[in-house]
Each structure stands twice: as structure tokens, then as C-alpha cells.
Amino acid sequence: MRRRVVITGMGVITPLGHTVGDLFTSQVEGRTAVGPITRFDAHTFPTTFASEVKGFELGKYIRDAAKYQRCGTNTQFALAAGKQALEDAGLLDPNQGDRSRMGVYLGSGEGGDDFKNLTRGIAEASPKGAPGPVNPALFTSRMMALLDGPWEGEQEMYTPAGYLAGAFALEGPNQACQTACAASSQAIGEALDIIRQGDADMMLAGGSHSMIHPLGISGFNRLTALSQRNDSPRTASRPFDLTRDGFVIGEGAGLVVLEELDHAKARKATIYAELTGYGSTADAFRMTDPHPEGRGAIRCMAEAIADAGLKPADIGYINAHGTSTQANDSTETGAIKAVFGEIAYKIPISSSKSMLGHLIAAAGVVELVISVMALRKGAVPPTINYRTPDPACDLDYVPNQARELRFRHVLSNSFGFGGQNISLVASRFVD
């Protein structure tokens, strides 16, 4: 029989709370954390607002925080969320259990870039007067003088997963992936499979990301992916609403402790839910646009439900990808209808991003945590900022008010730039 995998610990650093409890309360109360960008002066950018993590101090979580002071926010958020999750699971003690059977799978993004000195160096190596190509040799000479070497060395893409392993003595399989907005859900799904296939007994899995930096916002603005509703940041993220105009960028981290069932039972761990289903597909369509009929999304939802041994009718709540972009929300709606048929209209669907914004590589894991809390608390968070129905989005999005609802299985979707589609199913644990 296939090894069963349960969730025994959860930790988050998000714009709406630095604990799982605070995050879920905010979600149920329909609060938002979206506001003007404070990380840098963005007042002339096409988009001037974001959903930022405020008041974060790594020292609250990690005793030797100074060691990580040069790390990017992605690494710092990951360490704080990882600490919470392991403490919650009762697995923080590095001498506890066989640590070579405990690993890390992180969906994470870039570290920081030294925007100030990078653009200064490029400007100084550019021809004076008329525009023309940058002189690369001169640029390298300026970089050697301007950049902070030790700081640069902490910004590599393998840094967060490596430091998580180091800080918490997780010596088992170590992986990191970057599949844009699907990354942390994919990390969780593949970590599930690592445990199922016997390569580990516990995986600390999830994601961490911040793209609220000048090049991140510049890049997304050039792609016209972000909402530009600068006069009303708090209502800008409006998934499934007719007037939606792009996503609101967020940041943060989430980590869950995935554990093989017998391993969890043997140490009498608290079981929050069972992770029962995983589906992973590619759209093979375009760089940023989803396939118009949602063919990848349809198949990954169907695969995840089948992997859990369930039928669509068993799903009680769908935590949607729901980005608040025109393309995603209508395509996702169509895909849900294709998978669920008539019952699609009866299943409550909501988008955490209406309140949290889009945490990119960290989005999926935080939304899974919210899904698991909804399962446990019997409460479905709303989609806020929902005012104007879109004929292309005609399902039950739990508009603006949370709903009490007891259910047994939740489906969580994450679809990323590049065409990766991931669906996860979590179920109330029944022995």
C-alpha cells in the first residue's frame, strides 16, 4: 500500500500575519494588507502599491540571526517560517529522529540585487552623450569596486534551501525549484512523492519569495501584469470581478511539515490534515498566457482528485489560484466547470489573493495552509473586493463574507508563468 503523508506542522510569514493563527483570522475577517510600497521609492512607478510583510525581525525566530543578516528576504522569511513549522510539529530539536530522513523542498525565487550599484555601474560604463552600448570591461571594473562580495554570495538561488537544511539539521533530500507562481505547490507535491516513494520520512516543504524590489516591480510593470489601480490599493486585488485589472504583488513564506503517517503516529504528532492528492501538468502554450481552454489546469485538477482516490463531488471547497488577472480568472473558472460539471456551481471557491496579494513562489504554500485551516475550522474565507459579476466568471466565489462550512476535502490550485499547473488535495485526517 502507498505510504500516507500527513501535515504535522505549519509556519508562515505573510503580509496578513506572522503566525498561521493570525493569517487565518485575517482571512476569515476579510482584511487586506495592501498599501503603498515602502521598500523603495516607487511613487512614480506605474504601480505604486503592494502587499508587504511589515515588522519582520528574523531575531524573533532565530537565535543566531546575525549570521543571516546578508541574506535576501527570501532566505530570512524561509528561516522564520521553517522555524515555526518545525516547532509546531515538535521537530525543532536537531537531535530528534533520524535527520538524514528529513529533507527540504523549497519553491523560491531570486535573492536581492544591488540595484543601486548595478544601475550606477551600467550608467558609468555607458557612452557619454549619445546613447550606445554599455562598455562591459569598464562595467566589470566598476562592479569590482562597487559590489559587496560577501553580500552577493548570499543571494544565490540555492541559498534559502541550503540554509534551511543547515539551520535546522535537515540532512535528507534537498531540492529547490522555481516555476513562478506554481513553485511552492510543486515543491509540496514533489515532496509528497519523495515521502511516498520512501526517499524520506519528513520533508519541510513550501516556498519563500519577495519580488517587491525595483527590478521586480519594473519587470512586472513592463509585462503589464500588475494592477495599476493606484487610487485604491486596498480594492485592487479583485479576483473574478469584471473590473479586475491585474494582480497585486505580495511577499512572504510558508513551510509545512509533511510526514509519513506511521512516523507521525509513532511520535504522537498532531495531525492537521492528510495530503492526499497531487497533479502536475504543463500548458505548452505561451510564456505568460494560460491555454484559453485551460487544458493544463483541467488535467491537473482531475489528476489531483484522482490521485486522492476521490471524485469531483467529494471536494467541499476550492482555494483558487484567482490572481485577479483577466486571463487567469476566466480560464480557471472554465477549467473548474470542465472538471466539476454541474456541481461546479455548488462548490464554494475563493481566492486568498484578494486579501494577501500574490506571493509568487510562496503563494501556493500559504494558500494550502489557509485551505487546511478552513478544513479544520469549518470556515471558508471569502473573496473580497467582489462587486461586479463577470459573465465569464459565474461560480460561487464566496463574495466578501466568510462562510461556515464543514467539509472533508479541499482542492488548492496554483498556475504559473511558463505554463506549469499544480493542484493539491488536502483531506480531513481519518485513521
Binding site: N174, S218, F417
Partner: protein, 428 residues
Amino acid sequence: MADNTTTSRRTVFTGLSVISAIGSGPAAFWEALVAGTPGVHRITRIDPSHLPSHMAGEVRDFSAKQLIEKSYRRTLNAMARTVEFGVIGCQLAMQDAGLAKGRVQPNRIGIEFASVMGATELDDLGPASVKALKPDGTGPDMGVWGADGLGEMPPLWMLKYLPNMPACHATIIYDVQGPSNTHIAGDIAGAVGLGEALRILRRGAADVMIVGGSEAKVNPLSLSRFNLFAQYSRRNDDPEGAIRPFDRTRDGTAPGEGTAVFTVEELAHARARGAKIYAEVVSVASGVDRGKTGPGLAKVIRNALKAAGIAPTEVDHVNAHGLGTTKGDAFEARGIGEVFGKNVPVFAPLSRFGNFGAASALVELACSVLALQNSLLPGTLNHWDPDPACPVAVHTGVPRPIAKPYAVKTSYTDLGQCSAIVVKKWSD
């Protein structure tokens, strides 16, 4: 430790592409390996004289425009060099495997790619940086950047550099609709991607997986950054002899660039379509050696051997990362030495073409796959003076016949993330 010995789903390499400083395509690459051709030279793409280290394994004859699928040529303007290498690598591997688009049912083929965020091309940010620079020259005026600078960036700027773009383009070109993942765990990324492909094949989610990696660090920004924090060799008067794996006089490594891509296939599927087989891929393990002292790496190697169901004595050679860095080589040698002693020769191919980073595990693995296929193990370049701190026996000099069926490929990062791959000479 993903393995396939306990199930009927054996997995084999049926396609291979390599683009590197010493040659592109399996045949030319193998020829260069046997001939001992060095690929690390003084950098020509830019004038490197302002950098402490002047060397790299540059690919000098690469034209994505000539190689890309015609229908896809217009998308090249959305690809940085890293992405170009990756996309072309996937094309060449699929061609080598005889897998034209539609040959495999779209749902039954997936991709696991290893990459990193590309470094920005300077000219992409040139006009914006010039406009925004404050009058005192200390950095950008953010107000000016937002109002007048940002609009000068190419609209698709972000997509040129995202790590998952090689996989994205490959899925579009070949209608690959199975799982698609992009691995970013530094120098073990390609290995753990291969491990994941094995798990995906074993759980039955696909019949064919594209497994590859690409890197292009020979650019002004990456060279500057890495010279500041990585140990790059300063032996600028002897580029070809600069990277000295496990040698007492080693003083650092040098970047390489290019791609290596395999198609990995479930054996029955490969047989049914009469595919040629390069080698069997048996197991992959990963883990973390937190102190970078050796026992953690040794444990990962043992896990891979255990998953393969073999003893150290069945291994022909260990294919090491062999960066040529002072601490890195000593760490890796201690891990290998703890498992194999000096009984199994170590082969370190990186000194020929430089460090491929995320793609390093796979381009280095390609050397052993070709060695097993050709029954000949090339020697390690630039290892003359064994270092007592590196307790391994390095195979040098002329190629020697392959003596045993298995090879083990090790990789690691400077944070102690480790991987080991076991491959086997193909036989029924």
C-alpha cells in the same frame, strides 16, 4: 534515493545533447574528451583584464538563430543566452532521441530542467540607468527611474531571464504537457532534477522525461559577482592548466557555459519504439553535509548505492565535481574517500570545460555516460601532484578501458547540498 531496481520500470537515456567549450554534440564532445582537449581559455567575449580571474570555458561558435525551430525564431528576442542554450539543448536531445513533436502523447512526456535566474544584459538596462543616475553619480533617482527609466526596459525583460523559461519554451516547441519543473539548487540542481524524473517515471506520470540544464555565466555581471565571492583561479598565465582538481597546487575554479540535456525513458517504452540506448540510469540520492566535512556526502553516496542495490566494488569510477577549489575539493574527496577509499578511481572532467553551475551535474554525467558506452575512461586533466588532504586516487593520463559496469556521479554546493547519481553501462 529514487531507484528503479525494485520495480519493472527500468529507466534509460535515449537522447543526449551537449554544448560546451570542448565541443558540441555527443560525438564531438566525446572525441575531445578522449583527445584531452582543453576548453578553458582566456575570455574573449569581453576584455577580462579588470577581473581578478581571466579564464572561462567559453562556447565560441553558438548561434541559436541557426539552430532554433523555424516557427519559434521570433521568440528568440525573449531569450537570454542561458535560455537559448537550454532551448537548443532540448531540441538537440529530442532530435538525437528521434522524438519529433507528437511522437510521444503530450500527456506522457514531461521535463525537469536545471537553471538559474539569468544575469541581465547590460544594454537592457543601459538607457534607464543613464537617465536615472543622480547628478552626484551615487545611484539612481528612483523617481526618474519610475517615470522615465522603466519604460526604456524591453517589455519582455523579465521573461528573458526567468529560470523556468528553457522548460517553458521546450514544452511549447515539443507539445510537452506532462509535469514541468525547474530546479535551482545550484550545482546539484541537474542531479536532483534527474532524481525527480526517475520518481515521475516510476509513479507512472510519464513515459519520457526531458532532463537537462543550462548556464551562461560568462557575462559581465556574473563574472564580476562570482569573482567577488567564489574562488576563481588566478592562474591567468596558464588558463588551460588553471583548474587542477584534487591537486596540491589548485587555486580555484573557472566558469563554463553551455548545456547538457538527456531524454530519460522507461525501458519498455524505449524498446517499443526501437530507440538507441546510451546507458541505464539507476538511482539518484541527495542530502546535506552541514559541516562540509565528508560524512554527509558519504551518506548520500551510500544511499544512492543502496538504492541501486550495488556494492562500492562494482563501481568503475567516481565522476567528481572536482571544482579545483581549496576547501571544496578536500570536502568532496573526504566524502568519496570514506565510501571508496582509494580503490575506485576518481575522474573529474570539469577542468576541461569549467563549471556549468546548475547544469554541471548533467554535463559531467554525460562524460561518464559516454565513457560507459565507449568502454573507455578518459583521464583527469591538470592533476599532477596529489594532495594528502584529498584522500582519493585520481585517474589521469591516457584513457583506460572501463572495467566495471557502474559509475557514480557526485556533486555539491558550498552550503553542503550533495547529490549522487548511479548509472550503468547498457546491457539487457
